[in-house]
């Protein structure tokens, strides 16, 4: 079942001539993880805002084409500190802020919050003051806060930016878990090397338009490598003058090597 459908969607920010999104058609199904890749400014963040119903409703601007959503969406922005409520004494309260705003009964709130804290391995930090957390810890708290609102469509904009290796690993595992639970996940990330283990499909955005769609193998294409969007292994393989098809990951390279 499609959780999100964009049908020839174009979007212009207020007072801007050129569109940030150009004729984008895209579907994300329940249980699927789709990764958006592209150069900075290619439109991935804008696409996520449109998917979250924040553009043009809150940002202003003009949307052409159709956007259909089946489920409630939740979005984790690349600047998680702006999403913090600023008035929670503890991490638990911070995560409960969203569900409380949705008017859910207390026992339901407690269930969702406890589950989210566990999924993000935040239980030891549950009584900490959010103002004392490091950037990476806060990012995990905001992710938990969005998940606690139980969205059917989960949107991530560079969620691993501030995380260390262990935090990032936990996050990618969690995203796969969300897909297994039946959620639809759309994720913009520049962590190209993680994509083969996380995403089912990859959408390459260039200048606001969809340049290519495919499996993560897309990131081992000549075109992707030339555009700086190949995985590290594929890029090095190509730079060494070795023949196609370029391996996507270290494991693939080892197989090719034998």
């Amino acid at each position: 079942m499609r959780s999100l459908t964009l049908d020839h969607a174009s979007f212009w920010y207020p007072a801007t001539e050129s569109p940030a999104l150009r004729d984008v058609s895209l579907e994300v199904g329940q249980g699927e993880v789709v990764a958006l890749v592209g150069a900075l400014g290619a439109g991935a963040s804008t696409l996520l805002l449109v998917a979250a119903d924040l553009a043009p409703r809150v940002t202003g601007g003009r949307l052409a084409g159709a956007v259909a959503r089946r489920d409630r969406s939740g979005i984790v922005l690349p600047t998680p500190w702006t999403q913090a409520s600023g008035m929670a004494f503890t991490v638990w309260d911070e995560v409960a802020f969203g569900p409380a705003n949705l008017g859910w009964p207390t026992h339901e709130i407690a269930r969702q919050v406890d589950r989210a804290l566990e999924q993000l391995e935040l239980v030891p930090l549950a009584s900490r003051d959010p103002a004392t957390l490091s950037g990476g810890e806060l990012q995990r708290v905001i992710i938990a806060a969005i998940l606690a609102m139980d969205p059917g469509l989960v949107l991530f904009d560079e969620p691993a930016a501030e995380l260390d290796a262990e935090g990032a690993h936990t996050l990618w595992r969690l995203i796969r878990l969300l897909a297994r639970e039946g959620k639809a996940v759309l994720l913009a990330t520049s962590a190209l090397d993680a994509i083969p283990d996380v995403a089912d499909r990859v959408v390459w955005l260039e200048d606001g338009a969809v340049r290519a769609v495919g499996t993560p193998d897309l990131l081992a294409d000549v075109a992707a490598c030339d555009a700086g969007l190949g995985t590290s292994v594929a890029t090095v393989w190509r730079a060494g003058g070795l023949p196609e098809p370029y391996p996507l990951t270290v494991a693939h390279a080892v197989q090719r090597w034998r």
Binding site: L49, A52, L54, V58, T59, G74, I75, L77, T79, T82, Q83, S85, G86, M87, A88, F89, D93, A96, F97, G98, P99, A100, N101, L102, G103, W104, P105, T106, I109, D129, A131, T132, A145, I146, M149
Partner: protein, 242 residues
């Protein structure tokens, strides 16, 4: 009794009644009494939550930080008054203004934004309105923290906040503009970000921990209102009939 444990509406009532009385009661005695009360409040143990973990200087006990902030914030007003008025007017108005400043500073230090939101939601206000009010009140410590980060960044690039008046004024100017601009810039981002946390009008927020509102406090709030009204009547209306 700590200020932080009183119901938020009681704190608002006190912070509103003191300046009101300062202006209603005849100067300078009225202003002086209310100021004494306001300054005494800044020394109460409850007056610390808003300040302790955000940029308070080590070595000062929490109560003195609030008192110090109140006095420092009020000081420039005295300067302007001295330049514009004679001494008696300066004293009369100065005491009243200082009461306002001290009450507000005390309120910001004592009122925990989360408790205010909970209290307002429990009283039937919409979550968005409650959040807006609470965010406005908590804007001060947030701005203070931000100002400190800007000052630190500027110091790391060689700008000294010390020195003579000229140097300090220059440093202040270098701080003021980026502070305002970055605050405005963030307001934009935050408006968007808070939508993502479910703060939409029309939904009744679930109270997570509504602060208790004992009958004593409710009565006290009504009493404060009556005292203000009585003072108003006595000061302005009674003389007409005498």
């Amino acid at each position: 009794m700590t200020g932080g444990r009183l119901h938020p509406f009681t704190l608002l009532a006190i912070a509103g009644a003191l300046p009101a009385l300062a202006w209603i009661l005849p100067a300078p005695a009225g202003g002086a009494w209310t100021l004494v009360v306001a300054l005494a409040l800044t020394l109460t143990p409850g007056a610390s939550p808003g300040f302790t973990h955000i940029g308070s200087s080590p070595g000062w006990r929490p109560g003195l930080v609030v008192l110090r902030t109140a006095l420092l914030t009020a000081a420039p007003f005295w300067l302007f008054l001295l330049l514009l008025h004679d001494v008696p007017t300066t004293i009369a108005t100065g005491l009243r203004i200082t009461t306002m400043v001290a009450s507000f500073v005390w309120l910001v230090a004592t009122l925990e934004p989360a408790r205010l939101v909970e209290a307002m939601v429990a009283a039937g206000w919409s979550a968005s309105v409650a959040y807006l009010l609470a965010a406005t009140i908590s804007a001060v410590p947030v701005l203070k923290a931000r100002a400190q980060r800007i000052v630190e960044a500027q110091r790391c690039r060689g700008l000294s906040p010390r020195g003579g008046i000229a140097a300090r004024l220059r440093a202040l100017r270098a701080l003021a503009l980026p502070l305002v601009l970055s605050a405005l810039h963030e307001v934009d981002e935050r408006a968007l970000a808070l939508e993502t946390r479910g703060l939409v009008p029309g939904i009744r927020r679930t109270p997570l921990a509504p602060p208790p509102d004992p009958a004593v406090e409710q009565a006290a709030r009504w009493a404060l209102l009556l005292v203000c009204l009585a003072a108003l009547v006595r000061r302005f209306i009674v003389p007409r009939f005498v």
